[in-house]
């Protein structure tokens, strides 16, 4: 039901925003130079560039609007390589593009652009602030945390920095610090972003109902003229509904997301998951295959492989399992833990799975990494190690069903081992 009218409105909204963005960029382009001369304070960070800049939810977006913005800002940067405002706006658009296409590569370009800008203008607040978010999307969590702390020191009142810090700490498994950061963010500025983070923190601790309530608040608090953000919150609401086995609600929220932002990957995959949960494997397969053409990822290919396997189609499942592995290559942002879990779960290269998971676990201790490590150990026959990692994966009280099922298997194996030892 995307009427020509609706897409026209979206285009117009995007155009208006581009105009705003260009003004912002123009100002931003001049400001740092002028001010660096005028204001020689050691922490010379005198001025922010403007509201349209550096916000993950910045302007209203649509697929075409995003591409247009990226083109405009790239052109601007070619004309004026020194334009930090354009760099920030470009990074923002690339970040959204990465999210809307499930493809991490745009974020690489964004970090390149921002780092170049930082070289010219070290300490330029908006660049720094944006870079933290970009590092997050590239899964460079330590770097993101470090940048966010620097950024926080410049502007302790800016809630954004606590969001980036908390996001990084969540991924690193530093939960207590992460929750403190989210609380600080909420204390400074309750808004959609803060509500969404509370939702995630609740979910991690097993409070899925509470998570859903907070995510619904986030969805309500999202600007009506920002369809990408609206779609994101709808899809998250769908995921949480799915976890609560509210299939109709989940299906509706995923469809809402797709209505707002056609082919939104999270929501397309979500619709497939709902079909799987309803026993409609063929329906799910059709959706996944279609989506795979748009956003080829390990996760999708693995899901397709699973569905073919369930259907008894060994050749096809083998094909897609191989594809899943191939898609984990460089250039795509996947969590490595995902790959380890996938390999272990599908009994492929279990020793590789252990190596990968151990390498990841050396850097971060979030429950999903620990879970992947536990499962890799388990499949490699290292039950004691599996049990220890599995206990760490359970430490937040998560109710994630797949994770709990694996923990149960590991616990049972540990008990059997203990019985044998007696």
């Amino acid at each position: 039901m995307t009427t020509p009218n609706a897409s026209r409105a979206a285009r117009l909204a995007a155009l208006r925003w581009i105009a705003v963005a260009i003004v912002g960029a123009t100002v931003a382009a001049v400001a740092p130079h002028v001010l660096s001369r005028v204001n020689k304070a050691p922490h010379a960070e005198p001025l922010s560039i403007g509201p349209a800049v550096g916000m993950p939810g910045a302007p209203a977006t649509s697929t075409s609007g995003l591409l247009q913005r990226i083109d405009d800002m790239e052109a601007r940067l070619r004309a004026q390589p020194d334009d930090t405002g354009a760099a920030v706006l470009l990074a923002d658009a690339l970040l959204r593009q990465a999210r809307a296409t499930n493809d991490g590569r745009p974020a690489g370009r964004a970090s390149e652009v921002l780092n170049a800008a930082l070289k010219e203008h070290p300490g330029q607040y908006d660049v720094l602030r944006m870079l933290g978010a970009i590092y997050l999307s590239q899964h460079r969590f330590r770097d993101a945390l470090e940048i966010a702390r620097r950024s926080r020191d410049l502007r302790p009142d800016d809630a954004w920095n606590y969001g980036v810090m908390g996001d990084a700490q969540i991924e690193l498994g530093e939960y207590s610090d992460a929750f403190d950061a989210f609380d600080r963010m909420m204390a400074l500025r309750p808004n959609a972003g803060a509500y969404a983070r509370v939702a995630y923190a609740r979910e991690l601790q097993g409070d899925v109902k509470g998570a859903l309530a907070a995510m619904q608040m986030a969805a309500k608090a999202t600007a009506p003229n920002d369809p990408e953000a609206q779609a994101w919150y709808a899809a998250q609401t769908g995921e949480l509904s799915l976890k609560l086995h509210k299939l109709d609600d989940a299906d509706r929220e995923f469809r809402r997301a797709v209505f707002l932002f056609p082919n939104y990957p999270l929501a397309m995959i979500g619709q497939g998951k709902v079909r799987v949960a309803r026993g409609d494997r063929e329906g799910a397969l059709a959706i996944y295959l279609e989506q795979l053409k748009r956003t080829p990822t390990l996760d999708l290919a693995a899901r397709i492989g699973d569905l073919y396997a369930a259907r008894g189609d060994a050749a096809q499942s083998k094909h897609y399992y191989q594809l899943a592995e191939d898609l984990a290559g460089p250039g795509m942002v996947q969590t490595e833990a995902n790959l380890a879990l996938y390999l272990a779960d599908h009994d492929r290269k279990t020793s590789d799975a252990v190596t990968i998971a151990e390498a990841v676990a050396a850097k971060r201790h979030d429950i999903f990494t620990e879970d992947a490590l536990a499962w890799a150990y388990y499949k490699a026959g290292r039950v004691k190690d599996a049990y220890a990692a599995s206990q760490r994966a359970l430490r937040t009280g998560t109710r994630d069903e797949a994770l709990l099922a694996r923990a149960d298997r590991i616990r049972a194996a540990t008990a059997r081992g203990a019985a044998r030892d007696r």
Binding site: M1, N5, A6, R8, A9, L12, A13, V23, G24, V27, V30, A31, V34, L35, R37, V38, L47, S48, I49, G50, P51, A52, G54, M55, G57, A58, D157, D158, A159, W160, F179, F182, D183, M186, A187, L188, R189, P190, N191, A192, G193, V198, R202, Q205, D207, G210, A213, A214, M217, K220, A221, A223, P224, N225, D226, P227, Q230, R252, R255, L260
Partner: protein, 467 residues
């Protein structure tokens, strides 16, 4: 060096005015608010109602940047935001009365994501899939921190957005049906309206240009007529009309008003079974005098300023007494304007933070409040007052309250440039520098005529007509 400084000032000014991008006097302001339009105050108006002169009408606008054709997600008030209009009636800069507005959206058919599935002929038409109702609560603040709340009205209807001749035929009548009378002679309306603010942003963005003064700018251009950049945009208004007797603290006739939006804080950890989604509300946006957030408060302070209550505004006084805008006016139009005093501007502190003696002075407490002397009778029907208000001896206009027709941009440009006009010069001895007293952006009126009856704000532009 001089040029560098000049450009620095231009940039600062432009950055301030960037916040105007949202096409009203306070739009897309704090970086953290820019993504939260539903909790973003854009303008506040307060005036004695010309057609019901024993009442005061207060209009608080929210949600910047409403494109009339902005579907499929048409804007509405946010059910999770606490909207408030606060009134200080005893001059201590603390609110004595608060009118609270909470909204509730019903989804009639969860299986469609469309705003409506057929023409909306009435406020309870089943074709309207997302009707929104609201509750008005009066909070009376007593000694200490005591409060008494009373619900003035519940389940009050709002009109739909103005979509087009198929979805919302007879829109004017549809919207008029949403005006409700509450006990005690109070009248309320909440819903989409034309954005009543008017300003030539296009020129102001271009190195702070004012088209009528183009030849006198440092970078001269031929004179042009001003162009209203806010024309054809909508906003959401909360309008309330209250008998004066309920607002004032006799014998004091002056009141100070500010509008705000607050969001609820929720905590991460929940006790088993107990909901903790009912945390305290934190003010995330406020508005008293127009344009303060844009031209007085620098970007780095905007978030803090928005969180601060007016009673604590003393900390911002220096920004009023040494205003950046005045400095900029000197720099950009120095060739033609009489030099403007840029420090010790007690006149601005008075007008914007305490009220003008013998007009709307509320007390020594510095606070960003829109101040209205309710003893001053209306001088004209809505829309017909002198656009320059008190500057041209129309005491019922800005800065004594604010009417829809008051030309805030021109008044501010002149006030900041010490061009107060002969009336205020004679009355209060305020400076009347020339030609500073002629400054203006050339946009003198709203693009749409106001209504002569409550809620006065013009009917919103229709999506079908205004892409």
């Amino acid at each position: 060096m001089k040029k560098t400084l000049l450009f620095a000032s231009v940039i600062i000014f432009l950055v301030s005015f960037l916040m105007l991008t949202g096409r009203a006097s306070s739009h897309r302001e704090a970086p953290l608010i820019s993504q939260d339009p539903m909790a973003d105050n854009t303008d506040l108006y307060a005036f004695r109602s010309p057609d019901r002169p024993d009442t005061v009408t207060i209009i608080a606008n929210y949600i910047p940047l409403e494109s009339p054709a902005g579907g499929p997600n048409f804007p509405a008030f946010d059910d999770t935001v606490l909207y408030e209009i606060n009134i200080d009636n005893d001059g201590d800069a603390r609110e004595d009365l608060t009118y609270q507005f909470r909204f509730h959206t019903e989804t009639r058919n969860p299986e469609t994501f469309l705003y409506n599935t057929g023409p909306i002929a009435s406020l309870d038409d089943p074709n309207w899939n997302r009707p929104q109702t609201y509750t008005v609560t009066l909070v009376q603040h007593g000694p200490g921190n005591s409060e008494r709340s009373s619900v003035l009205g519940a389940d009050l209807p709002t009109p739909p957005d103005n979509i087009g001749p198929r979805s919302t035929p007879n829109y004017d009548a549809l919207a008029a049906a949403a005006v409700r009378n509450l006990p005690g002679g109070i009248r309320v309306f909440a819903g989409q309206r034309d954005d009543p603010f008017f300003v030539d942003l296009g020129s102001i963005f271009d190195l702070a240009g004012l088209r009528p003064f183009n030849p006198f700018h440092l970078i001269p251009l031929p004179v042009q007529a001003g162009r209203d950049a806010v024309a054809k945009y909508n906003t959401h208004s909360i309008a309330i009309q209250v008998p004066i007797a309920q607002l004032v603290h006799a014998p004091n006739t002056n009141i100070g008003i500010y509008a705000s939006a607050s969001r609820q804080q929720v905590r991460i950890l929940r006790k088993d079974g107990a909901s903790d989604d009912g945390g305290p509300f934190l003010q995330v946006s406020r508005l008293g005098e127009p344009l303060i957030n844009e031209v007085v408060i620098p970007l780095g302070l905007k978030d803090r300023w928005n969180r601060t209550d007016p009673e604590d505004d003393g900390q911002f006084e220096r920004l009023y007494s040494a205003p950046e805008v005045s400095r900029l006016e000197n720099l950009l139009y120095g060739g033609v304007l009489s030099p403007i005093t840029v420090t010790g501007r007690a006149d601005l502190v008075a007008i914007l933070l305490t009220g003008v003696p013998n007009l709307n002075f509320t007390g020594e407490a510095r606070a960003d409040l829109l101040r209205l002397n309710t003893a001053v009778a209306p001088t004209a029907p809505v829309g017909s007052g002198n656009r320059l208000g008190v500057l041209e001896a129309d005491l019922a206009g800005f800065p004594n309250g604010r009417r829809l027709e008051d030309d805030i941009v021109d008044i501010d440009l002149r006030a900041f440039a010490e061009g107060y006009g002969s009336f205020l010069h004679g009355l209060l001895g305020l400076p009347n520098k020339a030609p500073n007293n002629q400054l203006g952006d050339g946009v003198n009126a709203n693009d749409k005529a106001f209504l002569t009856q409550f809620p006065y704000v013009a009917v919103p532009h229709q999506g079908y007509e205004v892409p």
